[in-house]
């Protein structure tokens, strides 16, 4: 394996960690947004506060790690991406600021009205950021970022791959978050809330799977290099991802109390299954890079990234 591929692997590890750990945080925002009014949604929001409270700050670091690694290891592609994809990155950055501040301020809000205001910023921006980051990934994967950074700042990220990438990112985060929150609710001793979150996880999982299937079709026409890689060496991982997803849905379907739900505080159910495609992600890029001979400039390197993001 070449040095570039090794470095790219370490970089993708960061992307993975951000996607899984940060993704659960972002997805929580979506559920926070759709939890209902202050009265009905109270329990869900308290669960979210309690679950992501200790870790959301630390999860920022994966994004910083990815950015720093990217500009250290591949500075020219980094500059090209930052220039061409200025718009979605700006929106993603805006989302990150508002999300963090909104979450922190809401905790200290004195009245429900204040809490609602800050909470709205937190939740809305939690949806915005993954969408735009997914659009960025899609833009790179579909080869719309020229190596000299001269791509069109609007059309480079509004192509089909980007739009489906952004949508898939939001849905995947929601699915991941719902499964974690369901486990957290069960651990907090509220089976009713756990049930409700599990239902949300199931629905979002089904929708994510459906969109992922659509994405395959989109990639065929819009991102040929990636699509051919997915047919070839990465097919194993595509299948592995589908299997993991189906297993997660099956476990989510089981009614409360059966052993499929797991028992005790360390239940190994859906979270491990939906995150169980980690090994297949690592495999994804390694097979892709084994089949690639290019020295690692923008388009092929970033296909690896896109590949790992997709196969959830």
């Amino acid at each position: 394996m070449t040095l570039e591929a090794t470095v790219a692997a370490v970089l993708f590890l960061g992307v993975l960690l951000y996607a899984v750990l940060g993704g659960a945080d972002f997805g929580s925002g979506l559920w926070d947004l759709t939890a209902g009014d202050a009265r009905r949604g109270g329990k869900v929001r308290a669960l979210i506060d309690h679950s992501i409270g200790p870790v959301w700050e630390a999860n920022h670091v994966w994004l910083i790690y990815v950015l720093v690694f990217l500009w250290t290891a591949f500075p020219r592609p980094f500059a090209a991406i930052m220039t061409t994809l200025f718009v979605p990155l700006a929106f993603a950055a805006l989302g990150i600021v508002l999300r963090g501040a909104g979450f922190a301020f809401r905790k200290f809000a004195e009245t429900v009205a204040e809490a609602r205001l800050y909470g709205a910023f937190f939740a809305a921006s939690s949806v915005v950021t993954p969408f735009f980051l997914g659009a960025v990934a899609g833009a790179v994967a579909s080869g719309r970022v020229p190596a000299d950074g001269s791509g069109d700042v609007w059309t480079s990220w509004t192509g089909p791959t980007s739009l489906i990438g952004g949508t898939l990112a939001v849905l995947t985060c929601a699915f991941l978050a719902a499964t974690f929150l369901a486990a957290e609710a069960e651990r907090a001793g509220d089976p009713e809330l756990a049930e409700s979150m599990a239902r949300r996880a199931f629905v979002s999982g089904v929708v994510t799977g459906a969109v992922a299937l659509v994405a395959v079709l989109v990639l065929e026409t819009d991102a040929e290099t990636l699509a051919s890689g997915l047919h070839g060496r990465a097919a194993v991982l595509v299948i592995g991802s589908a299997v993991a997803g189906l297993r997660a849905l099956w476990l989510l379907r089981a009614p409360a109390g059966t052993h499929g739900r797991g028992s005790g505080p360390c239940s190994p159910w859906p979270p491990s299954s939906s995150a169980g495609a980690w090994p297949s992600t690592r495999g994804c890029w390694s097979t892709r890079c084994a089949s690639s001979t290019e020295p690692g400039l923008a388009p092929p390197s970033w296909l690896y990234w896109w590949c790992s993001r997709w196969r959830r």
Partner: protein, 459 residues
């Protein structure tokens, strides 16, 4: 150029919060330790409240820092493209330092009432150390910009990259020390100022006295050390960046036996309005009355920085810093002689202002060094205008950042003041924190549909 203004604004906003992240943990450690080891409920109470304030500031500090990583790429592709790999190492290490801070802050905030007290307060040590390392790493990048090292430019290509040499360049030690000490000045005066205001409003209890003295002590040590560190740094600037020093000192011509100029501006190529103190200019810059102080004429005109902005900023910083050093000296001397200046309303008012002034000094110092480095972003190698993005979207993002950060500032002030007010009203009301558990167990009572994290509507 909007790239420059946006970067300057985001950095200027972030640096205040970063100072809290760096210096506040040490102060909290002191009061928390006192609270535990001497069984002092007032000290313990201060630690609890300060940790919650720190949590809010840490949250918005972290997001504004994340934005800066985006901005490095979005605003400066001409810098990051060629040199991203040269300066990547300190940023990576800073990321690790930040991660450690975030983890330990989470554990620390969760630890109230859960961890053994003697373990609990020691968690602040890794937080403070991580802050120190983070400061070093960021200043390493800035020092590199002032004194580039660790690479060669051969036929227009950046080669022979040595990231360790780039990070541990000649300029970093003094720059790091100067900033790290500045953080303690800012936070020390700001926090002491809060309790000074409380005392001005008649709240004169042990809580306020201790809350004043601990940060003020930190600020005092920092304020007295800082002029010496700054002086050392200034002498290095004389060697490294003569144009910057020339702008600092308003020296139009290189001269020996140069005077020290106080005040004054460069108008139509001539220095006007200054007060001169003979020979001191040379002495301060070179430790010798016969030493040569570089003038603006030592570099061609297109390589000179904007003089008046640099000069004003520099003198503002030095002025405030000098007054601060004297101010703290007076307080401790008086105390040693038995006079308690905390009884003086005038003194309390000055302390209340000192926090703001310390902030002004920090910003002025950064303006002096950054504007003084112009037209270079990498001294002598890359000009700012060549590094900046020429995207048409820059004005939009700049305006968006201005609006968003203005909103964040207002919200932060509102939230912190409301916390303070609720503490005053509710005595030891245990407020939830962004990373800590709420005041009650989450979601146990199924009959209650109101969330524990939110209050019922007021009134």
């Amino acid at each position: 150029m909007p790239a420059r203004q946006q970067m300057a604004f985001s950095l200027g906003w972030h640096i205040i919060l970063a100072c809290f992240g760096v210096a506040f943990p040490a102060m909290i450690w002191l009061v928390h330790r006192r609270g535990v080891r001497h069984d002092d409920p007032v000290a313990l109470g201060l630690a609890k409240r300060w940790s919650k304030v720190a949590a809010v500031l840490f949250a918005i500090g972290a997001v504004s820092g994340t934005i800066l990583s985006f901005e490095m790429g979005m605003l400066w592709p001409g810098l990051m493209g060629p040199y991203g790999d040269v300066i990547g190492l300190p940023f990576a290490l800073e990321g690790i330092a930040f991660f450690i801070e975030a983890i330990f802050i989470g554990i620390y905030l969760y630890g109230w009432g859960r961890l053994p007290p003697r373990v609990h307060y020691r968690l602040l040590v890794p937080i403070a150390l991580a802050g120190l390392v983070g400061t070093f790493c960021i200043l390493a990048v800035n020092a590199w910009m002032n004194d580039p090292a660790g690479f060669e430019v051969v036929d227009g290509e950046v080669t022979n990259v040595d990231p360790w040499r780039a990070m541990f360049n000649d300029a970093v030690a003094a720059q790091f020390l100067h900033m790290w000490v500045a953080a303690f000045m800012l936070v020390g005066f700001a926090v002491a100022g809060v309790y000074a205001v409380g005392m001005l409003r008649g709240r004169n209890d042990r809580h306020h006295r201790l809350g004043f003295l601990v940060p003020f002590a930190f600020a005092s040590v920092a304020a007295v050390a800082q002029p010496f560190i700054g002086h050392l740094l200034g002498q290095q600037v004389a060697d490294r960046q003569p144009a910057k020093l020339a702008a600092f000192e308003l020296a139009t011509e290189t001269e020996t036996r140069a005077p020290l100029r106080i005040g004054g501006l460069l108008i139509d190529g001539e220095v006007r309005g200054e007060v001169e103190m003979p020979l001191l200019g040379s002495f301060l810059a070179t430790n010798s009355f016969d030493g040569e102080v570089p003038g603006l004429d030592s570099v061609p005109e297109e390589d000179r920085p904007p003089v008046n902005v640099t000069r004003l900023a520099f003198q503002t910083m030095v002025g405030i810093g000098t007054v601060a050093a004297l101010f703290v000296t007076v307080f401790w001397l008086a105390r040693w002689r038995g006079h308690d200046l905390l009884r003086s309303r005038g003194f309390l008012r000055l302390t209340a202002a000192s926090g703001v002034l310390a902030g002004v000094a920090v910003e002025a110092g950064w303006i002096a060094t950054e504007v003084g480095r112009q037209p270079w972003v990498v001294n002598g190698i890359l000009r700012t205008r060549d590094a900046a993005s020429d995207s048409h979207g820059l004005w939009f993002t700049f305006i968006a950042i201005l609006i968003v950060y203005a909103g964040l500032t207002v919200a932060a002030v509102v939230v912190l003041r409301s916390m303070a007010r609720r503490w005053r009203e509710g005595e030891d009301l245990d407020l939830p924190t962004p990373y800590g558990p709420g005041s009650a167990p989450p979601v146990i009572d199924r009959r209650s549909t109101a969330t524990k994290g939110h209050r019922e509507p007021v009134g």
